[in-house]
């Protein structure tokens, strides 16, 4: 489950589709055809789903029909249930993520910028990251009861590792040539950290943040389904008792949308903060 915290470069994901479409656009009509196929196949699946439900091949006790999901979503929004639960879930995710960002970044700075700090901080964190955080749920309930604390802390704990690991790696792998350059320019240690080390580690930090957001939702789903009186996860568990597959699927969709939105948010942050990275590298080309 903590696979997500491995510092590998998922940020290439968005790039590869760009490259692909760039390649394809050179071959004339191909992209338009591809675009159509892209939307046709999911739409066909939804149609098939709706058809099977209407005809009765799929029991609505197992899966609600798409039309039912839309109506349910609409009514949940009208009576405010969805907003209330969504608000609670968002609050938990945001508080947990904020703690994770703060703790992860501070720890990474300590262990990235000093040898002693690394000895003290890095070893325990490397050991702890191999533990499945979700296995701590029973312990967290024992320690913190069933209020907001264990949920927020679970999110925070899970999301801290990707932030720490990626930022630490970023700080440690700053191009030594740039550090040498800073030295020959007579930059002080503080200036070097501010102007060279931190900006150089920023791309890795953002990769970490993206993982952290993913992990945060995962943690939240589990935390809210195990014990909660509110939140999207609670709404879904409640629905289970009444065999309301439509509400469960609405919850699933909300989680999906939240994941998508937050990922796009971080991506937007990347484009904004890393404006210095040219979209198409043209090094060595003559201007």
């Amino acid at each position: 489950m903590l696979k997500a915290s491995q510092p590998t470069g998922i940020h290439t994901h968005g790039l590869s589709t760009d490259v692909l479409s760039g390649l394809l656009s050179r071959h004339g009509r191909l992209p338009r055809w591809r675009d159509i196929v892209r939307y046709v196949s999911p739409l066909a699946l939804v149609a098939l789903w709706q058809g099977s439900c209407s005809v009765g091949i799929l029991s609505t006790h197992l899966v609600a029909s798409p039309a039912q999901i839309v109506t349910t979503a609409w009514s949940l929004m009208r009576d405010g249930t969805l907003e209330a639960n969504l608000g609670i879930s968002l609050l938990r995710a945001v508080s947990g993520l904020s703690i994770a960002l703060l703790v992860g970044m501070v720890l990474a700075l300590i262990s990235g910028l000093s040898r002693i700090g690394e000895d003290i901080v890095d070893a325990p964190l490397q050991i702890m990251r191999t533990l499945p955080v979700l296995a701590l749920v029973p312990l967290f309930i024992l320690w913190f009861g069933i209020g907001e604390t264990p949920k927020v802390l679970l999110v925070a704990l899970g999301a801290t590792f990707p932030v720490y690991l990626n930022f630490h790696k970023g700080i440690r792998t700053v191009d030594p040539k740039l550090l040498e350059m800073a030295q020959t320019l007579g930059l002080s240690r503080g200036q070097t950290v501010r102007d060279v080390v931190l900006p150089a580690a920023l791309p890795d930090l953002l990769v970490g943040v993206r993982y952290a957001v993913g992990v945060a939702w995962l943690m939240l789903v589990v935390a809210e389904q195990i014990n909660a009186e509110s939140g999207i996860g609670h709404m879904m568990m409640d629905a289970e008792d009444f065999l309301r597959t439509d509400i469960i699927l609405v919850g699933l969709m909300v989680y999906g949308l939240l994941g998508l939105l937050s990922d796009n948010l971080v991506r937007g942050l990347e484009t904004w903060l890393l404006a210095w990275r040219p979209l198409s590298p043209r090094r060595g080309e003559n201007a």
Partner: protein, 252 residues
């Protein structure tokens, strides 16, 4: 002036004209992990405003010498006497990708009102004024090297060290850069130590060419040609041949 020297100086070394020299290197020795000495009791003087080309085979220790002169590596044996204001340009531009070109140029400089103007002025000098707002990763190789040169010049160093600064450039850009460096040097009159593999470049630019071999300066060749120099000059060819011989390269 600052003097970097080992706690126990092994050789006193000649102190002749050390007083007025910009750089005085005496008995400098450097070895890596108890291997053979890369620099072995090296002596070198550079007069104020003098343009010295440093040649030598690959692995002869040119970069090692430059690193010690620039203070990147510690002096453990021998002594190095050099001005406080030195600037280095490496083979790669080493610009910070997250700072605009002009910000890179004045990196580490005091941030007063005139800082931007100084950056613009020196970028103008290297012909890069139109790119001052650009991100470094969008520069061409030649432009990036000119930016690095501007960053060195804005500090008005007494000693400018260049470690194969044009090696990665195409022939045409290299010619343009050589002309640029010659012009800049005539205006700024700082001492220059240029590491190069290119004998033509050495003869074209330098007052003196020194060849590093087995840890010491084995050849020290003054090049008293008038400037601007032409490749077609018979004397040019003569100096070129002498240097090639010193490097162990012979035309048959």
């Amino acid at each position: 002036m600052s003097t970097l020297s080992s706690p126990a100086q092994t050789r006193p070394g000649p102190m002749v004209n050390a007083v007025d020299a910009t750089v005085t290197v005496t008995g400098l020795t450097r070895r890596f992990a108890n291997g053979p000495a890369v620099l072995d009791g090296l002596d070198l003087h550079i007069a104020p405003g003098e343009f010295v080309a440093l040649l030598g085979r690959s692995g002869s220790g040119k970069s090692t010498l430059l690193r010690m002169l620039s203070g990147l590596d510690p002096v453990t044996e021998g002594s190095v006497h050099r001005p406080d204001d030195v600037a280095v340009v490496f083979q790669e531009s080493r610009l910070l990708p997250w700072r605009r070109v002009w910000q890179n140029v004045v990196l580490g400089q005091k941030k007063d009102d005139s800082v931007r103007a100084r950056a613009e002025a020196v970028l103008q000098e290297v012909g890069l004024a139109h790119r001052s707002e650009a991100w470094p990763l969008t520069l061409s190789g030649g432009e990036a090297q000119r930016a690095a040169l501007a960053r060195a010049l804005v500090r008005e160093p007494d000693l400018l060290m260049l470690d194969e600064p044009f090696a990665a450039l195409d022939a045409l850009s290299r010619l343009r850069m050589q002309r640029l460096v010659a012009g800049l040097w005539q205006r700024h009159r700082c001492a220059v130590l240029l590491v190069t593999h290119d004998v033509d470049e050495a003869v074209l630019l330098a007052d003196r060419a020194v060849v590093l071999e087995s840890g010491r300066i084995r050849t020290d060749l003054a090049i008293p040609l008038d400037r601007p120099r032409r490749h077609t000059d018979p004397q040019f060819e003569q100096f070129r041949q002498t240097l090639l011989d010193a490097l162990g390269v012979h035309d048959d």
